[in-house]
Amino acid sequence: MGKVVAVTGNEAVANALRQADPDVCSLYPITPQTDIVQRFSSFVANGVVQTELLNAESEHSAMSAAIGASAAGGRVVTATSSQGLALMWEMLHIASGMNLPIVMPLVNRALSAPLNIHGDHSDGMGARDTGWVQLWSESAQEAYDNTIMAFRVAEHADIRLPVMVCMDGFIVSHSIARMEYLGDEEVKNFIGPYQTVNPLLDMEHPKSFGPLILTDLYHEYKRLQHEIMGRVKNVVLQVSDEFEKLSGRKYGLFESYRLDDADIALVILNSAAGTSKDVVDELRDKGIKAGLLKPRLFRPFPYEEIGKALKHLKAVCVMDRADSFGGYGPMFMEISSAMYQADGNGKRPKLINKIYGLGGRDYMPSDARQVLLELNEIAGGAPVTAVKEYIGVRE
């Protein structure tokens, strides 16, 4: 049975990992993720889980160990943030290229320089092309639910891919919120026993991982990887449906909030979506038809579905808590691509891009209000003066 608690996002995710009882957890601490692996280490020390804990000497080693343990045939987890994810970078590609279903909570944090420990999405966006599945979470509840679902998604026979579960550093990871745990047995039954595929430790069937593949076959292997990534959407929807039956909480590829009859909308990830939804309600009360779309599955990106959900709007602002210097914000590029392909009978919404909240800068209702009111002007015929702009910045 479920249990209502008041916990931090980190505590919630640590408990999701406890309930999954993985075979191996390789770890290296980094703020704001440390709390997850610290709590998980206590579970191991107290014999609450059967997991073998590996204290690595860096995140590069933590991911390398995770890859080895996963190839060996175990259910494997690790967790990281920011510089830690950056240091894992080459190994992230190896985990996905080898189809290893590692589950990794990523507590989103800004990247250096200048050094900053607070929440933004630079780390996760930097890893968007690594071949990992990315699920993003607004709250402790969503981070917990996504972590549990991540095992089912990662280990699904159709894909076998590593999954990164993203949540905002400090804002979610360290804030206490009301949420609901599922029972240990329920989670155990939902996730199920780990099914190995070509385990290295199957001594009866020796095999090799990580061969050299040159011009003759590399292109074909990448085509296969593209194909497998294309199956993820269905797997996520299928697992989310089953999860809804268990928990009563509904998840899709993204969340639509008051979008169906809207004229204007924000597209925004993670915790700031909560603040924005309040402001959407406020403007609705004033007769402004505002809405919101919060992506959940960012990789693979559901272009068609999101294009369909947004194509009827007059103006949309994509809010990025990360910048691609010299480019638009990373999510803006995805939404632009989705809208260009969407069939809107020659019409598509005006699109603008705001960069907000870098390095943990507060995102306030006034920020959402300012952007929505600007969208309202654009929807009414005002020209777009700047496609990409920083907000909440001292000018």
């Binding site: 290229g97 080898m98 189809n99 290893l100 076998r160 070509n198 069937h205 020796p206 095999k207 090799s208 991982f209 990580g210 061969p211 593949i213 003759d216 076959l217 074909e220 292997y221 085509r223 296969l224 194909e227 497998i228």
Partner: protein, 95 residues
């Protein structure tokens, strides 16, 4: 050549010993040469060879398999030889 639809996901090689199919001798720029008169049959060359380029029959070194020797020179380096004379020396290819 295989199509992408015929590949094993994750590029896992499901067949043991498949490296025998992959001849790497053309990478070599230096060639080991065995001087049998200086060989004490210690098999250190066989032990240290990172590939499978040292041929052994009935427990004795019998020469090199140049299809797999990349010319790394580890065997020559490790060879203790006889009375200070090496049983394996490296020679530039093409000479």
């Amino acid at each position: 050549m295989k199509k992408w639809t015929e590949l094993v996901p994750g590029a896992v090689v499901l067949e043991a010993g498949s490296s025998a199919k992959f001849k790497t001798g053309s990478w070599r720029t230096f060639r080991p040469e065995w001087l049998q008169e200086n060989c004490i049959q210690c098999l250190m060359c066989w032990l240290y060879c990172p590939d499978m380029a040292v041929k052994v029959a009935d427990g004795k070194m019998t020469g090199f398999d140049y299809d797999y020797c990349k010319g790394c020179g580890v065997c020559a380096k490790e060879c203790p030889g006889k009375q200070g004379k090496k049983a394996i020396i490296m020679k530039p290819e093409g000479k």
